[in-house]
Symmetry: C2
Subunit: 544 residues, 2 copies
């Protein structure tokens, strides 16, 4: 006997349908490729998305076809977002900052049959065309009148695509487990790996992401995703905004602090990006004595958020920080730092301490930490170990891999992160497994070292890595980029670090660099950093 | 090709697992059958629920078996709630205030194999035993030491049930569409009808109910469901509190205003009940010059909430009112009155007007209004018609019926309510189809008439019904219960009503009564009221 309730498949088209019907006039505005500023609404996005879907079907694309989209955060990207998934195809988001070999690899690996690309990004793809065997159709996200010169074969303009449709279209139907989107990991620890989201996983993620202890967004919010929609499923924001009928401000391609500030001042109440973006923003605010008129909340994740950033936003600029941890593989939210009653009544400084953790998992996410042997570790805030995750939004198997990534049966997925959990289930990411520094058999958290170092006013960026040591196996050293080329004395930096660490944990050396190597999503690449140090012939002073 | 994400079945056991693991210490407190006050936690409820489930399996009950539960809102009820569904059985909530024939009907119709009942309610069931053919096992929700004398055959006590289990138990697994709970409608318009919730429908409802524009509950909330868990799926609160890790205060059987006030003062931040409860509470507060120390939000639904109640809570007692509309058939939330940006900036009086509507549907619910021919009506706030609903939490077919209740294909379900919708999708329930007053072919809203009449300080309750009229077919009359037996002059009441209605809409007569007939959930029964008026030989003055 089954329950006798209605059984609607969880499809992402239900999200945009809801937004268009019940929040149809809510503005979706932003910078576009052609002009400075465009304005539409959820109803407008819905109507255009239907045309995109209908036109793709008309061209012969639909169920199960991968369609690559290389676009900035624009209102039009939202139309394409829902149009591609709505026609039954797979929205494959492309990060234009990937190395060309990586781009070539993921487009071929995904088997993209159509690629849609911003006019200013055709240059990124043109050289790859000969190697891209599966791409049959190129669409440039602009009007015919504004088409750039391009060697992309037979490229059509977005308005020409839309002209193939009259908008009288029913969304593709199908199983809720049908594939819906495809996003490759950032490639920080190796080659990007593909995560094939289903309609169901995306809707479930949008639902639990909207719960009060996660990242609740209401219809009165105006949300600006600074995090690109092509980074880790756009942090789910394209879905959660529709589900809750929030307005959106799309910043377009200008990721400079002045450019973003201008857009934040268009009524934005909630925004989201990686820490480096906010470091730049805070500098800009300070230098120009600016403040926010409407901003209430800032979601920060993707890398560990330094305490100073949290403090500045909250105390100096009146915006609450929501520190979140997630992965492409987890749709992406894994844990969010909201205040449970156990910590809600702590003093200001202690609450800030809590916020340097990545918080606790929402309903729909399950976590555990284990030692290397797979034995579960206690939640005492001290034991650190492998962090595992499972849930509605978590990958089972990487795209086109032979074997499951999650443990068969239990479905536990090894995040590759190292963490502690405290008795209230607050998680602290201390390292990536591959970046762990082990000195004399004991772990030293590279993330904590880095966060301690960037607290120095003249340190712009810091990376801690382990270098070989004759006696201790490995010892930590710090690579530092100074603010405007500054070289704050080694002793000063290490003294600052020493305030939070035991003596044996303090790095042995500080190496000054003009810049640190970054990945396509703006994270420090320890892989490249190690190569760079090797290239420089660096060895530990005591190993010289 | 399917998406390659993890596919966890939506089972309600995942809700209590989450609460116990990530919000384990959150208090679940309340009045019990035995003592004045008991305290447990989500971890405690979880542990006891596992024992309930294990013991039921041990006794031979499980997958698909209906288990009747007649209980007040107590911490123990929460244990039974998750225990019954957790063992694979169907939690059939029993309303002790139903007429005995109705109780007999629903227990037999459901085929309950076990019935669990509060010690003070065994008297309600004892006389029915001979007629209850399917019940094999009786459990009294108390300790053996406190067992009441009872003729329930071989009744065991709750602690004896728990003693059959050691708690080392894995929740029953199965399809997410397995039946999970069973609740019969209130019986306002006829015999109660059974709604068989699935695990999936309950989890989906809990998720969308938790979104910001619906009834967001966070882990810092302390929730007191005054609405009985046996009324309309307990308004979903047993699920949403677990999903969000909220604390709960369970008021037990004492539904008097002083009794409830005492419990509200135990830190409650959010509570929920039908309007009559709050009318009594407001009187109690005024008479005793009391105020609330912690209460922030009051959910009101089940019947239309008069404007004066909303105003008093918000202006005099600092608690925001959340006016909600729902049905047993819809899990139950259908629409909730939160402020969209279009109304958020209105003046205070206009915002109050908005709050007398039942708001707009959350994601997961779809609504439409039609005329009698099934043609969709415009959302202009004027056209009123049949209200239809569909969604994840909506019934497809009543329990053990031959035919679907929802329209095949479209799944639209006729709510039996009459409503208007405005351009922002705010819904106003003007009537039940069966109670509609049609004078000279034109509808007059009985709900609006009643709300206008109870604004009179000496009117405790009012019911508007249509009585036959020689010329106009039907004309409205008002049945009135005065505060403490008062009989405010007819002219005064009608003058008050006249402020909001056209002349032809004003009732022709006022009939004073000592009390109005109510259903088992405390709603005015128009069915019985009509019988009563007929019994009194009432005829319209102009028809006499
Ligand atoms: N708040 C945070 N604090 C610390 N680390 C974080 C935080 N949020 C995310 N991360 C890091 O980012 C990772 C997820 O990033 P993403 O999925 O974009 O790809 P990547 O792991 O950087 O690349 P790849 O998997 O290809 O090496 C997490 O596993 C974690 O290491
Ligand atoms: N906020 C509200 N305003 C007006 N009416 C409401 C509101 N909330 C609920 N209702 C009424 O309550 C009904 C649902 O109640 P419930 O499911 O408890 O059973 P019932 O309809 O009273 O009984 P039965 O269906 O057996 O006649 C709705 O259809 C509607 O008529
Ligand atoms: Mg990774
Ligand atoms: Mg009904």
């Amino acid at each position: 006997m089954l329950g006798a309730m209605q059984d609607w498949p969880l499809r992402v088209s239900t999200l945009i349908d809801h937004a268009a019907k019940y929040h149809g006039n809510r503005p979706i505005v932003g910078r576009s490729a052609e002009g400075p500023y465009v304005e539409t609404t959820w109803a407008g996005v819905h109507a255009a998305a239907k045309k995109v879907a209908q036109a793709l079907n008309h061209l012969g694309y639909g169920s199960g076809d991968a369609i690559g989209v290389m676009a900035w955060n624009t209102p039009r990207h939202m139309e394409v977002w829902y149009g591609v998934s709505g026609c039954g195809a797979i929205l494959h988001t492309l990060n234009p900052r990937l190395f060309s070999e990586q781009l070539e690899y993921i487009i071929n690996h995904a088997g993209d049959r159509v690629v849609m690309v911003e006019p200013d990004l055709v240059k990124v793809l043109e050289p790859l065309v000969p190697q891209l065997g599966t791409v049959e159709k190129w669409v440039v996200l602009t009007e015919r009148a504004n088409m750039p010169q391009t060697t992309l074969p037979d490229a059509i303009a977005y308005d020409e695509l839309l002209a193939m449709a009259d908008g009288d279209y029913e969304w593709a139907t199908g199983d809720e487990n049908d594939p819906c989107g495809l996003c490759y990991t950032s490639g920080t620890t190796g080659n990007p790996k593909g995560v094939l989201y289903s309609h169901r996983s995306n809707v479930m993620h949008a639902l639990f992401a909207s719960t009060p202890d996660c990242i609740p967004i209401s219809s009165t919010d105006v949300v600006m995703p600074v995090v690109p929609l092509f980074h880790a499923n756009g942090w789910g924001l394209a879905y959660t905004c529709a589900l809750n009928g929030a307005a959106m401000v799309m910043p377009g391609r200008d990721m400079t602090a002045p450019g973003l500030y201008e857009m934040l001042e268009k009524g934005v109440t909630l925004t989201a990006a990686v820490p480096t973006i906010w470091l730049g923003m805070l500098q800009h605010l300070r230098q120009n004595k600016l403040s926010f008129s409407t901003l209430k909340r800032v979601v920060i994740g993707g890398s560990s958020c330094p305490r100073a950033v949290i403090e500045a936003f909250q105390l100096d600029y009146g915006a609450q920080v929501i520190h979140a941890w997630g992965m492409t593989e987890t749709s992406p939210l894994g844990s969010v730092c909201s205040f449970k009653p156990e910590v809600a009544s702590l003093g200001a400084a202690e609450k800030l301490d809590v916020q340097t953790s990545v918080g606790h998992p929402p309903y729909g996410v399950d976590l555990r930490i284990t030692d290397d042997a797979g034995e579960e570790l206690p939640w005492d805030g001290k034991h650190q170990g492998k962090l595992w995750i499972r849930g509605y939004g978590v990958v089972k198997r990487y795209h086109r891999m032979e074997k499951d990534a999650a443990e068969p049966g239990t479905q536990w997925f090894d995040t590759g992160d190292v963490a502690t959990m405290d008795p209230n289930a607050y998680v602290r990411i201390t390292d990536r497994s591959k970046d762990v520094i082990k000195s004399g058999g004991e772990w030293i958290s590279s993330i904590d070292l880095e966060n301690a170092a960037v607290a120095h006013p003249q340190v712009a960026e810091a990376a801690a890595i382990g270098v070989p040591h004759p006696k201790w196996d490995e010892r930590p050293v710090l690579c530092i980029v100074g603010v405007n080329g500054a070289r704050p004395p080694k002793e000063e930096i290490l003294a600052l670090v020493g305030e939070h660490f035991a003596k044996w944990q303090i790095p042995d050396d500080v190496i000054y660099m003009d810049e640190l190597p970054h990945t396509a999503t703006g994270k420090i690449s320890k892989l490249e950093l190690r190569k760079k140090l090797n290239g420089l012939g660096y060895v530990h002073p005591e190993a010289a």
